[in-house]
Every structure is written in structure tokens, then in C-alpha cells.
């Protein structure tokens, strides 16, 4: 079991679970399409790797890496 924050650039993964996050960020990520069994690809990472650009459901979304630590993938 590992998190999306650990995925490498261009790696295609499948979301297995989204853990609870502060301020309901987990709900927002689910509403934006990050649901279990959904395919997701890391497209780019910022200079200090604190933000990731991911490709999900046919569009691109930038998310802070600290949030992606709670997105579990396989």
C-alpha cells in the first residue's frame, strides 16, 4: 500500500482509498473525480515537489503533495 504522493512522474495508478483529510479536502477531491478504482496519472511535480499535477477523468488537476499522501493507490 502506498500513497499517490510517492508515485513517479508519468506513472499510471489506480486509486484504492481516500483517507480523511483536514477541512474536508478529501470530499473536494472525491467531488473532482478522485474516487476508488479510478485511474490516475502523475503528469508533473513542482520544483520542491510540494505540488503535483495529476491527470484524472480526462482533465488536469494540480494538488498539494501533502494532500496526496492520503490518497492510497495500487
Amino acid at each position: 500500500m502506498r500513497s499517490l504522493a510517492e508515485a513517479k512522474v508519468n506513472e499510471l495508478c489506480t486509486i484504492t482509498d481516500i483517507l480523511n483529510m483536514h477541512d474536508g479536502a478529501d470530499v473536494r477531491l472525491c467531488e473532482l473525480g478522485m474516487t476508488p478504482n479510478q485511474k490516475i496519472r502523475v503528469v508533473a511535480k513542482s520544483l520542491f515537489k510540494k505540488v503535483c499535477l495529476v491527470e484524472i477523468r480526462g482533465y488536469n488537476l494540480s494538488v498539494r503533495t501533502s494532500l496526496l499522501k492520503d490518497v492510497i493507490i495500487k
Partner: protein, 653 residues
């Protein structure tokens, strides 16, 4: 009158549709959160009156930011009215999520599928989708009025209950995350049955390989900014500005010479100094101001702003801001008042206050005339680097102030940076003309109202004595008396004359007034920038700068001091009167301290030479760094005692 609410995801073309239907010119852009407040306007179609509401973009009926709350409140306030749910055709999966949320809650919804980019990532069978959901579905192009007739004719259709097979008691008892999964499963089912999809990714571009590259992204951003400054202040902008200046000079000199023969001296003086000497000089900077706004609009419309937010979030999260603050800060290069308003897109209150307080430190376009006239007088061709340095200083100071606030009185929760990437878009010729027209109009209106009124007041108090008698050019005017009281405050900064103090006081109303006041005080009755630049170096002038050090200090002070009146009003509206007052005081303090530092550093360089000052600065830097390291070491050391008895609460052992 029938009410219609435009509801949809951010950046799906709601304001474009609003503008097309109501013939308005509301601000649009290729960026999340351009619309931050509710707008409404009436329009007539086929003899029927409609009231159309444009609200900020949302992704569901749960609010995660201030502007999303505005949108949801507007929907709930008008829950009996017709909702026009706009969906971006090329990002249909995510857009239909909101549609399902609206239909589940029983809103009277019509789905409008907007082909904003004229791409065909999805080919949609709208009739089938309409049948499956039991709601009206229309494919539109929000920019074309002709193809909007279809859905407008159908807005009187009776309300039908939507078909949502997954909505049962079991669904309603599930958590929000589980409900989201069920909705997306149903969307996948709809997409599979009603559309054909290509493999293209919405918002993906080959350019991003370079623009988002970990090592090239920041240099590319700085290169773009230098290019904008070069076009604004030198090549193109300067050429146009000089042309306009010559033209206005010709007109004003003929009018003044004609006036001098037939009107009283005080009236001639009024036209000569307040109107032609003050206002004209600022009008001649119109091309440069408009070019700066156009450049910012091009960045905004292209979709590059989201990329900049992604690149800079790394650095901004350390000072309690997020990548989303970049948009507000960059807007600050245009106008601080607008920039403060965009801070509403922040998810959290302390981040909103920090962003709003950081915006006025950015160098707004109203300061362009000050840099060009005062900086141009002594730095000549090197003024580009001085101007770039000032813009950079504004950014650095705003980040430092946010950092200090974040560590002291505005300790906020950690920001959740989640931002969608829009596709790159070209700016249409119509949009270029609109931006040029709108900014020209706004600039001239500001000059015709606020600046004219301020100039008349400044002219009156500088031409009449306390006994209200006309004192002419060399008498003791009301302003001179006031200026002499205030001026000593600025002596340590290198520009302690009463006239400079008064021009800075007048600049509180609008920053453009600083240059027009200088022109007025120096009795420049032409609007030639060169003439004003020359006059501030002549010891016989009222406004006179003795050295490069005092000019540099003055520019730094103008960059950072108290925001203009409209910005203070906006701050008070957005973050409260207490924070607006705080901004006025802190900005004056920050400007004063930095100007003092810059003046003394520049003065020392002039007297002792650059090498000696550099060595001294290096030595001082090393000493300060050593003190800081020792302080950190003492603060963080493990005390070796027992935590049970200790009151320090460090938790180190």
C-alpha cells in the same frame, strides 16, 4: 419577469454567455474564479423579459471558498427559479457531477453543453442524454447569440422530475464520499451511452513540458515579466507615450497662449497648472498603462496563470499563502483595488486577509508615471533595471510581510491547494479591442473625476494663502504652510522639501496625482515628460532632488507607502475596517524603514564608493547571520532537564 440562474463549474463560460445574452462587457478570463460576486441584468427575448444571474463557479453544493459560498447562497435564495446549468463540452465527466447534484435536489434545471474551445473531445447525443435524465439538454456556443435561441424558447417548459436511478434511501444514508463514487459511476454510464470520446486530455499541452519543467519554469516566468516591462516602459509603450505627449503638448500650448490674453491671472494659472500641467502629463502615460493591462489580460486569457500558480505554490505555502494568491498578486501590477477583491477565491479566512494585505505592496500601474518621470530623470537608459528592481522589491516585500503575519498575528491553518488546469487559449481580436477600450475608458474616467478634483484642490491650496487671497507663484500658500509642518518627517529619507511631502500627501487619493502635483509645483505648463524630469534636477525648482540616492529613496517610498483611497475602501469592505487601518499604518512604516535604508546605502555608495560599501554590507551580513544561527541554536537546544518540572513546553525531551 422570469429569473434565470447561470450555474456551472469554474471557467466553463458562464460570464461569456451572460455577456452574449445581456450585451454586457463583464470581465472574463481563462482562470478559476474570475467571477467572484453575483451579477444580474435584464434582457428581452421574443417579447419576454428575463432577469439573468451570473454567479461564481462551483463543483458541487458544498462550499470550499468564500466565492463558492456566494454562489450556493444565490442558488438557495432562488430555488424556485430556472437554473441554466452550463457544462463544458470538453470536460463533460466532471461538469455532469454538479448537474446530478442539482437534479438530486429538485432544482428546475436545463443543461447547456457549451463547446467553448470548439474541440470535439466528446461527441454528444443530446436527445439521448435528455431522455435518460428527463431534462432539456442543448448544445450551444456561448459566444454566438444565434444558436442560443433554441434553449431560450424552451425556458417556459414545465418542470419535470429528473430520472436518477441511483437515488434511493440507501444512497441518501451513505457518506458524501460514497455518494460521489455512485454519482461518478452513473456519469460513466451516461457518457458510455450518450457520447463518443477521443483520448485527448482537456487542458493538456506540449508547451507544458517546458512551462512546468522543474528547473525552467521560474526562469521562463521572469523572462516573460521582463519582456512585459520592456514593452511597457521602453520600446513600444515609450514610443506611443512620447507621441501622445507631443500631441497633447501642441494642443495645450495653443490653448494656454489663447487664454492668457483674455482671462484673470488666477484663472489662467488654473488652466496652465492644474489642467494642462497636471492632468495632461498623466494622460500621456495612457499607452503604457493600457499595455500593462493588456499584457496581464493576455496572461490571464492564455491559461498561463494556473501554471504560474502551480510553479509558485512551493514557495508561497511557506509564507502562509497558496498558489491561488499568485493571481491576486499579479493583478496587483494592474490595479490594487481589483487585486484585493480577487482575494475572495482563497479557501481560508487568514489566507484571504494575508493575500489582500499583500496586494497593495505590488507596484500598480498608477505608479508608472512616477517611475518614468522621476526615475527617468537620473537613471536614463538604466531606468529599465531600476523599474524591474522596484517591481521585484514590491514582490519581495509583499511575501515578507505575509510571512511575518503568518508567524505572528495571522497564524492560519494549512492551505489546501487544489486547482484545475484550463487549456491554453488564444485571445481573440474582439477581446483585445475590448480590453484596450475598457482600460482606456477607466483610466480617462479616473483622471476626469478623482484626479481632476484632487488637482483642483491641490491647485487651490497651493495658489491661495490662509486668508484666501491669490498668492501666485512665489507666495506663502496654504499648502506650503501645511507642507512645512509635514516635511521634516521625510528629511531622514533624503527628500525633506514641503512640495515633495505635499505631492505624497495628495498621492493618497490616487498615486497618479504624485506626478501631476510635481508638475504643478514646478509650474510646468507643458505636458512634456522630459521637461518635468529636467525640472526635478534643478536646484531652483520647488520639487528638487539633490542626489541619485534621494531619487531612489523617493521611488521606494512611492512603491510601498500607504495604499490609495480606493484600495483602502476595498480593503475595509473585504477584510474589515480594522485590517484596512492596519494596512495604512504598516505600509507607511515599511515604506519609511526601507526608504531610510535605501537612502543611506545609496548615499554611502555615492560617498565611499561601491566596493567599500559592498565589503561593509558583506561584513554586516555575516555578523547578522552569525547572531541568527547562535539564537536558533540556543532556542532549539535540548535543555537536559525533565519535562515534568519544566515550564518551557518545548517538548524536546
Amino acid at each position: 419577469m422570469k429569473k434565470l440562474l447561470l450555474v456551472g463549474n469554474a471557467n466553463c463560460g458562464k460570464t461569456t454567455l451572460f455577456n452574449t445574452l445581456t450585451n454586457s462587457f463583464e470581465h472574463v478570463g481563462n482562470w478559476h474564479g474570475v467571477t467572484i460576486a453575483e451579477k444580474k441584468k435584464e434582457f428581452v427575448f421574443d417579447g419576454n423579459d428575463f432577469l439573468l444571474f451570473d454567479i461564481p463557479g462551483i463543483y458541487s453544493l458544498n462550499a470550499f471558498s468564500f466565492e463558492e459560498q456566494v454562489a450556493i447562497d444565490a442558488i438557495l435564495k432562488n430555488k424556485e427559479e430556472k437554473i441554466l446549468n452550463l457544462c463544458d463540452k470538453n470536460n463533460l465527466q466532471r461538469n455532469l457531477y454538479l448537474t446530478l447534484c442539482l437534479l438530486e435536489n429538485g432544482f428546475d434545471t436545463t443543461i447547456l453543453i457549451n463547446n467553448i474551445d470548439k474541440k470535439n473531445i466528446y461527441k454528444i447525443d443530446t436527445k439521448k442524454l435528455s431522455k435518460m435524465l428527463n431534462v432539456d439538454v442543448f448544445e450551444i456556443d456561448a459566444k454566438e447569440k444565434e444558436n442560443l435561441k433554441n434553449f431560450l424558447k424552451n425556458t417556459k417548459n414545465c418542470f419535470r422530475n429528473a430520472i436518477l436511478p441511483y437515488k434511493n434511501n440507501d444512497f441518501l444514508q451513505k457518506s458524501i464520499k460514497e455518494q460521489a463514487k455512485i454519482r461518478y459511476d452513473y456519469i460513466d454510464f451516461l457518457i458510455k451511452n450518450c457520447t463518443t470520446k477521443t483520448n485527448e486530455i482537456y487542458g493538456k499541452s506540449k508547451i507544458d513540458k517546458f512551462v512546468l519543467n522543474r528547473f525552467f519554469a521560474i526562469p521562463i516566468f521572469f523572462a516573460i515579466m521582463i519582456l512585459i516591462f520592456y514593452l511597457t516602459f521602453f520600446s513600444f509603450g515609450k514610443l506611443l507615450s512620447n507621441g501622445l505627449s507631443n500631441l497633447l503638448s501642441l494642443v495645450s500650448s495653443s490653448v494656454v497662449s489663447w487664454l492668457k490674453g483674455g482671462v484673470p491671472p488666477w484663472l489662467a494659472s488654473f488652466f496652465e497648472t492644474a489642467i494642462f500641467g497636471g492632468i495632461n502629463i498623466v494622460i500621456s502615460f495612457l499607452p503604457q498603462v493600457v499595455i500593462m493591462f493588456l499584457a496581464l489580460s493576455i496572461l490571464e486569457d492564455s491559461g498561463y496563470m494556473s501554471r504560474v500558480a502551480f510553479v509558485f505554490d512551493d514557495l508561497l505555502c511557506k509564507v502562509g499563502l497558496s498558489g491561488k494568491s499568485v493571481y491576486s498578486l499579479l493583478m496587483g501590477f494592474g490595479c490594487s483595488t481589483t487585486a484585493i477583491m480577487t482575494a475572495r477565491t482563497m479557501d481560508e479566512k487568514s489566507a484571504k486577509i494575508k493575500t489582500a494585505l499583500a496586494c497593495p505592496y505590488m507596484s500598480c500601474s498608477a505608479k508608472i508615471p512616477i517611475y518614468a518621470v522621476v526615475g527617468g530623470a537620473v537613471f536614463g537608459a538604466n531606468n529599465l533595471w531600476v523599474i524591474f528592481g522596484l517591481y521585484l522589491l514590491g514582490v519581495v516585500v509583499s511575501v515578507c510581510v505575509s510571512s511575518i503575519l503568518n508567524k505572528t498575528i495571522l497564524k492560519g491553518k494549512k492551505q489546501n491547494f487544489i486547482l484545475e488546469f484550463p487549456p491554453y487559449r488564444k485571445m481573440s481580436a474582439k477581446r483585445v479591442l475590448l480590453v484596450l477600450w475598457k482600460n482606456t475608458k477607466d483610466f480617462l474616467l479616473k483622471i476626469g473625476s478623482v484626479m481632476l478634483a484632487t488637482n483642483v484642490i491641490v491647485w487651490f491650496v497651493s495658489s491661495f494663502s490662509l486668508g484666501c487671497s491669490y498668492v501666485g507663484e512665489n507666495g506663502a500658500s496654504m499648502l506650503q504652510s501645511l507642507g512645512k509642518i509635514v516635511a521634516p518627517i521625510f528629511v531622514p529619507l533624503g527628500f525633506g522639501s514641503w512640495a515633495i511631502a505635499c505631492s505624497l500627501l495628495a498621492g493618497f487619493v490616487a498615486k497618479e496625482v504624485v506626478v501631476s502635483s510635481i508638475a504643478m509645483f514646478n509650474k510646468i505648463n507643458s505636458n512634456s515628460q522630459k521637461l518635468i524630469s529636467k525640472s526635478i534636477l534643478m536646484p531652483s525648482s520647488v520639487v528638487f532632488f539633490a542626489s541619485k540616492a534621494s531619487v531612489l529613496s523617493f521611488l521606494v517610498f512611492c512603491l510601498l507607502y500607504t495604499p490609495c483611497l480606493s484600495s483602502v475602501i476595498m480593503l475595509s469592505k473585504e477584510v474589515g475596517k480594522k485590517w484596512a487601518f492596519f494596512a495604512v499604518l504598516t505600509q507607511f512604516f515599511v515604506a519609511y524603514v526601507l526608504s531610510f535604508f535605501v537612502y543611506n546605502l545609496a548615499f554611502a555608495t555615492e560617498v565611499f564608493g561601491a566596493k567599500k560599501v559592498f565589503v561593509f554590507a558583506l561584513f554586516a551580513g555575516v555578523v547578522l547571520l552569525s547572531i541568527y544561527i547562535i539564537y536558533r541554536h540556543i532556542k532549539n537546544r535540548k535543555c537536559g532537564g525533565r519535562c515534568d518540572d519544566c515550564k518551557r513546553g518545548c517538548g524536546k525531551i
